[in-house]
Amino acid sequence: MESAPRMRADSHPCPPLPCDRRQGGELNREHTHAVVLRVRGNAVFLPLVTSFVELSAGAFGLGKKEALGLTLAAEEIFTHLCGIMGAKGGEVRVRCRTHGHYVRTDFSFPAMDFDVRAFNLTARVSPADDRCEDEMGLVLASRAVDRLHVTHARERGLRLTLIKEKAYPKTEGDVPLSSRPLQQFSIRPPEREELKVFALLTGKYYRRQDLPGFFDYPGKLVDMVGGAEYHALAALGPAGEIGGGILWCWAGSKTVEFYGPYVFEQEPHTRMRNALLDAAISTIARTPAVGLLNRCPPPDFPQDYFEPLGGIPLLSEDGTVLEQRAWFRLMHEDPGAVAWVHPELEKFIRGEFKRLVLPREVRMVRDEGETANAHSLLSADFDRPQKTVTLKPVWPGRDAGENVAGHVALLRCEGLRDVFFGLDLGQSWQAVFTPHVLVHGFVPRLLLPYAGEGDVVVFQLQV
C-alpha cells in the first residue's frame, strides 16, 4: 500500500501527556486482537522476532512501509535487549496488538536482573560499543516508529512499547457537504459513515489550527473509534443530518482527553454544544475518569464548564508560535492529596494549587544524604508525527543530573519541535529530578491534577 500524507504540518500539536495512555483494548478486549511470542533474550532468536513482528503487523493491517518500520524498530530493541541480557538470556515476551489505527508491540521482561541504566535512550550496551549516542539502538528504534516509551510496573517489570500507525488517505480540496440548523436533534454514537461525515464537516467549519490532525483522515477516525480507544457522540436531526459531535479518549489511567464539542450552523449555537458536552460528561461521569482535559479548544469552547490550567507555547512547522491552552474539570469532588515537592519548585507548585483551588498537603523532599541507587532511568515517550518527546522518570539514581543532561543533548539533535518533562508529585522519589530538570533548561508550564499517581507537572525545554 502506498503511504499517504501524514498529519498536516499546521495541525494543532497535542503531544502525549506525561502519563501512560490507557489503551482502550485493556478495558475492551473484544475490540482488540493480540498475538504473543515468548523467547529467550538471545540473538539467535532475532530472525524469529523480526519475522513475528513483520507478519503480525501485516496481518493487523499495516502497510508494507509501516510494517517494515515497526520491524526495524523491533530489531533494534531486541538486539539491545540481547546485549543487556548477555549470556543469561532471560525470557522476553513480545506482544503485537492492533488498536484499529495502529499496531503496538510490547517487549516485556523482569527488570530486577539488569542495570536499569541500559534502558535509557542514551545507553550503551557495553563499553566496547563505540557508536555515537544518536546511533544507539533505542534512538534508531524511535525514529522508525511513531511512538516509543518505557514503562516500569511492579507487576510487569519493564516494558518497551513501540507504536506504528496505519497510513490513511487524506481529505483534499473542498468538501461538498454542509449542515443546517436543526430544531430537533438526538445525541448518540455515530455510525461509521456518519463519523466520516462528522470529520468532513468539522474540517469544513473549523480552522485547521484549532483541530487535531486526525480530522484530515476520516478513515483513521473511524478506526480510532472502532478500536475502542476513542469514543464519539454526534447530534443528529430526524433525517440523520449531523449538526455536531464530540470525541474523547483516555489519556492515562485517570484522565480523559476530549475534542470539541464541534457544532455546525446551529442557532442558538449553545443549545447543541451544551447538550453534546452534557451527554459526554454524563457518559464519562461513571467511569474511572478523575479528570477531563481539553488541549485543542475550538473558538466556541464552553469555558464555563472548565477551569483554565494554563498554556504551553508550541512552535509550529512554519515557525510561528501557537499557545496551546489547556482546560480541565474534575469529575469528582476533590478528596485532597499529598504533593511531594522539591524546594526549588515550591513557589510554582504552591502558586498553582492556590490559583486552581486544589486542596493539597505539600510535603517537601530534600536530599538528606541518604544512600541512593547509582543509576537512574528516564523514559522517552516519542510522538514522531508531532515531533515531540516527553521524558518521565522511571527510576531515581545518583546520576540523575548527568542522565537528564545526556538526554537533553541527544534530543536537541533529533529535529524535534518540543521536549517535555513530566514529574509526578504523587511519587516522592521523582522530586529528586527537579533541580536537574530546571538547571538543564526546562520550565514548568502546567500542572495537571491527578494525571499520574498524583498531580503531574509538565515542564517544557526552552529553546
Partner: protein, 373 residues
C-alpha cells in the same frame, strides 16, 4: 515474572471497569486541606436537628458493657415495632446496615448472570452500582422533566429484567410519583417483575397527592419498599434502614440477607425514634419549609435555575464547573454535593439546614459567582 498476583486474570471485567466511590475525608482533615475553621455539611442531606429526643436519650444512656454482646441478628424488636406502625407482619420487614445494604439484598436475591435492572439515569446511584459491580446489567432511562419516566421504564424492560427501581421522591431532583402514576405503573408491570420504591425521603413529603407505597403492599405483592433512618430520623451515623414487602417476596430476599449486620445501638435508637417521632417530624418539616423558602428566594435573586421538589434538598445549576464550585465553597466552610457524578454537569445539590448554614451557603455562593467577573 514476579509474585504479584495476575490481577488482569483474577478480576472480573465488570469489577476492573468499575470506579470505586471515594467518600470524602473526615471533617477535620477537610478543614485542614481547605483551610477553613468551620464546616457546614450540606452534602449528604443530613438532618441538622439530630435524632428525635427519645433516640438521643437511648444513645446517651447506652450501657457500654452491652457492646460486648451480639445484637439481635434480625432486629427482632425493631421489626415488631415496624409491624405495629404499618399494620403488617414482622416477617414482612428486613433490617439492614443502612438502606444501601438492603439494595444489595434485593439485587442478589433476584438477579443472576445475564439479568438486568431498570432505573433512571439521574437518580441515587447505588442501584446502578450494585447491579454493575455484581455483573448484572443496568438499563438507565432518562428522566422526563426531572422525574422518573414511567413509560420509558416500561419500554426499557426486557425478558431479563428482574427489578425496576423507582426513587420516590427522587434524589436529587425531589420529583415524586403521585398516586395515579404509581398505581398505573404497578398495574402495567402486573406483577411480572419486582418493583422497588425507595422512599428514603418519604417522611419529608408534604404533597397530599404523594402515595406512600407501604400502603400498597397488600395490593401489589411484587412491591418492595425501602426506608431509612438516616434522613428524617437523623441516625445516619449508626447506619440502619429496612425494606418491606409481601411475606413471599421478603422470604426470598431474606436468603441473601447478612444477619447481625445491624449494631445494637442502631436498633435501639431506631426503635425509640419511631416510638416518639411526631414532634420531631413536625419540627424538621418546619425547618425544611423555611430553609427552602429562603433558598428559593436567594437562588432566584442570583438568577440561577433550580429544582426544588420534595425532600430536604435543593438542586441548582451554576454558570460554572460544579467541581470547582465545590472546592471554592469548601474554602469558605460550606460542603455541598457536586452533581457531575449524578450526570448533572454544573449542578450542585444543597441540603436544607439551619438559618446560619443557609445564610453562609448563600454568602459563599455569591462570592464564588462574583469571582467569575
Amino acid at each position: 515474572m514476579s509474585n504479584f498476583p495476575p490481577l488482569d486474570r483474577l478480576t472480573p471485567e465488570y469489577i476492573r471497569d468499575f470506579e470505586p466511590y471515594i467518600p470524602s475525608k473526615p471533617d477535620e482533615e477537610l478543614k485542614k486541606l481547605y483551610g477553613c475553621e468551620r464546616l457546614f455539611r450540606l452534602n449528604n442531606n443530613e438532618n441538622p436537628l439530630g435524632p428525635p429526643p427519645a433516640a438521643q436519650r437511648v444513645i446517651r444512656e447506652f450501657p457500654p458493657p452491652r457492646a460486648s454482646v451480639y445484637p439481635s441478628g434480625d432486629a427482632y424488636y425493631l421489626r415488631l415495632k415496624l409491624a405495629e406502625k404499618f399494620d403488617m407482619h414482622p416477617d414482612q420487614f428486613l433490617v439492614g446496615n443502612g438502606a444501601n445494604e438492603v439494595i444489595s439484598f434485593a439485587i442478589k436475591a433476584f438477579c443472576e448472570a445475564g439479568d438486568n435492572i431498570v432505573t433512571a439515569d439521574k437518580t441515587f446511584a447505588v442501584y446502578e452500582w450494585v447491579a454493575t459491580f455484581s455483573g448484572f446489567g443496568a438499563h438507565l432511562v432518562p428522566l422526563a422533566d426531572f422525574g422518573f419516566d414511567a413509560e420509558g421504564m416500561l419500554r426499557a424492560m426486557d425478558d431479563r429484567t428482574k427489578i425496576l427501581f423507582v426513587c420516590n421522591p427522587n434524589n436529587p431532583t425531589g420529583s415524586i410519583w403521585k398516586r395515579d402514576l404509581l398505581r398505573g405503573f404497578l398495574d402495567r408491570v402486573a406483577g411480572s417483575r419486582i418493583v422497588v420504591i425507595d422512599e428514603a425521603y418519604a417522611e419529608f413529603v408534604e404533597d397530599p397527592e404523594f402515595q406512600n407505597a407501604m400502603g400498597l403492599i397488600p395490593e401489589y405483592p411484587n412491591l418492595v419498599v425501602f426506608r431509612t433512618f438516616s434522613k428524617m430520623y437523623a441516625l445516619a451515623g449508626l447506619r440502619i434502614g429496612y425494606l418491606a414487602g409481601s411475606m413471599e417476596v421478603v422470604d426470598v430476599i431474606r436468603r441473601t440477607c447478612v444477619v447481625y449486620s445491624v449494631n445494637v445501638l442502631a436498633q435501639l435508637a431506631a426503635l425509640a425514634a419511631i416510638e416518639e417521632c411526631a414532634e420531631h417530624i413536625a419540627r424538621t418539616r418546619e425547618l425544611v419549609r423555611k430553609g427552602k423558602s429562603f433558598l428559593e428566594r436567594e437562588i432566584g435573586a442570583l438568577g440561577l435555575e433550580y429544582v426544588s421538589g420534595e425532600g430536604n434538598f435543593v438542586m441548582l445549576r451554576l454558570p460554572m464547573n460544579d467541581g470547582l464550585a465545590y472546592r471554592k465553597l469548601m474554602t469558605r466552610g460550606v460542603m455541598i454535593r457536586s452533581m457531575t457524578g449524578f450526570r448533572f454537569p454544573n449542578w450542585i445539590r444543597v441540603t436544607v439546614s439551619t438559618d446560619d448554614a443557609m445564610e453562609c451557603f448563600i454568602g459563599a455562593l455569591t462570592e464564588v459567582l462574583g469571582e467569575r467577573g
